[in-house]
């Protein structure tokens, strides 16, 4: 049956499409995303505390390569098939090479609801995959010989809210361990799904705002927004197989790969590649890929993961 958090997304979407007066205070949206990021991090850190960290390093290398590959492939497709100019192709590609926390949270929720386990390092992958695509996208748009302010961009990428809260949460979870986390469990773990539900209500409202932009952008954007995640998911499963992930881990890495950023990347690319049209990327990411992933993608990626890995669901 359809998850209750998805119903909240659909409510927001319908309300937005009907041009309802419903609005969430921006401070609520920020607060919810803060708790979600910390909770995902804490959970991951708690799990990591039970295993050695060193063997993870090569895995981080793999997911970085995965993000870079996705960005390059997306760029090529947008340039060749979509006939986009360099700046716009690079900007859109960076969004798709990076990841979306909301999509990841829905994936986690989907697996939890079905009792499917996944590796505790997945939240690290989430944090690590946020940044490389941004750097690749900028180089694609500008070349290396540019006067891009790399220091500022590195700062904004590595010390952005998402990375700090995810890695910070992981560090806290790792240090505190299950017992240390017990007293904050009611807020960060018991409320997780309720908070995710309200967060997705707002996401529905935001997605609804993209439709007019989408209509103007035509079929290629829609097609790209639907096909690119499928392609990335397969790439993600391949990488996950190489790392020996479980079916849950494969599903979640596929979800990560398929997801596209709509927070960190837009803000950074707006400054680094200002001539790219931000409406274009957001229409594809929010108007097509995000709803596709959470409504259809995740179960499909799980099915694929089972199929490819030959494991049982």
């Amino acid at each position: 049956m359809i998850d209750v958090v998805i119903l909240f997304f659909l409510l927001g979407l319908l309300a937005g499409l009907a041009r309802s007066e419903l609005k969430l205070p921006p401070a609520l949206y920020d607060s919810l995303s803060l708790v979600l990021l910390l909770a995902i991090g804490l959970k991951g850190g708690e799990g990591l505390a039970r295993q050695p960290l060193l063997p993870l390093l090569p895995q981080l290398g793999v997911v970085i390569l995965l993000g870079v590959a996705q960005t390059l492939i997306a760029y090529a497709a947008l340039r060749r098939l979509g006939r986009f100019d360099r700046a716009n192709a690079a900007a859109i590609a960076a969004h798709y090479g990076s990841v979306s926390v909301a999509t990841f949270a829905v994936g986690v929720n989907w697996l939890n609801a079905r009792g499917i386990a996944f590796e505790p390092q997945l939240p690290i992958f989430l944090a690590v995959m946020e940044v490389p695509a941004i750097l690749v996208g900028i180089v694609l748009a500008r070349g290396m010989a540019t006067k891009t302010d790399w220091r500022r961009i590195a700062h904004e990428s590595f010390l952005g809210k998402g990375v700090v809260l995810l890695l910070g949460g992981m560090a806290i979870g790792w240090i505190a361990g299950p017992e240390g986390l017990a007293p904050i469990r009611p807020l960060f773990f018991d409320l997780f799904k309720g908070i995710l539900a309200i967060f997705l209500l707002e996401m529905g409202l935001i997605v609804a705002r993209q439709t007019s932009e989408l209509r103007r952008r035509g079929l290629f954007v829609i097609g790209f927004g639907l096909l690119m995640p499928g392609f990335s998911a397969v790439l993600g499963i391949a990488c996950g197989m190489a790392m020996g992930l479980s079916v849950g881990g494969l599903t979640l890495l596929a979800t990560l790969a398929a997801s596209a950023s709509y927070i960190a990347v837009p803000a950074t690319m707006r400054l680094a590649v200002p001539e790219a049209n931000p409406g274009l990327s957001l229409a594809a990411v929010l108007g097509v890929t995000f709803p596709f992933n959470i409504l259809i993608g995740i179960p499909v990626y799980h099915w694929l993961a089972v199929l490819i890995s030959g494991g049982s669901s």
Binding site: P26, I206, A267, P274, E275, P278
Partner: protein, 102 residues
């Protein structure tokens, strides 16, 4: 009679919130030592910016300065920001006290 009031220019810029840090850093390089920022929303040739989420947030920057600095700031905006960002600016003369502050 208004004691010791001098004239300066008040330059107001309305633009996307995302450029705030970058713009203010550029301004500082040109010699701006004071500014005031308020959060805003609005409509313009780049469409509706209703501040419903980060991407759609705008800011309104005010800078009191002399005509020369204002001209330099306008030149910077023209060169680096006009083409790619939702932005307007306007200026007019104001009377200030404590001219040493501006």
């Amino acid at each position: 009679m208004s004691l010791a009031l001098e004239k300066r220019i008040l330059l107001t810029i309305v633009t996307e919130a995302v450029v705030e840090q970058s713009l203010l850093a550029d301004f500082a390089r040109l010699g701006v030592r004071g500014y005031t920022v308020t959060d805003a929303r609005g409509l313009g040739s780049h469409g509706l910016r209703d501040a419903a989420w980060d991407e759609a947030a705008s800011i309104r920057i005010e800078i009191i300065c002399d005509r020369n600095l204002a001209d330099a700031l306008l030149a910077l905006l023209r060169e680096h920001y006009y083409a790619n960002y939702a932005m307007i600016n306007f200026l007019h003369e104001v009377e200030i006290s404590r001219p040493e502050k501006f």
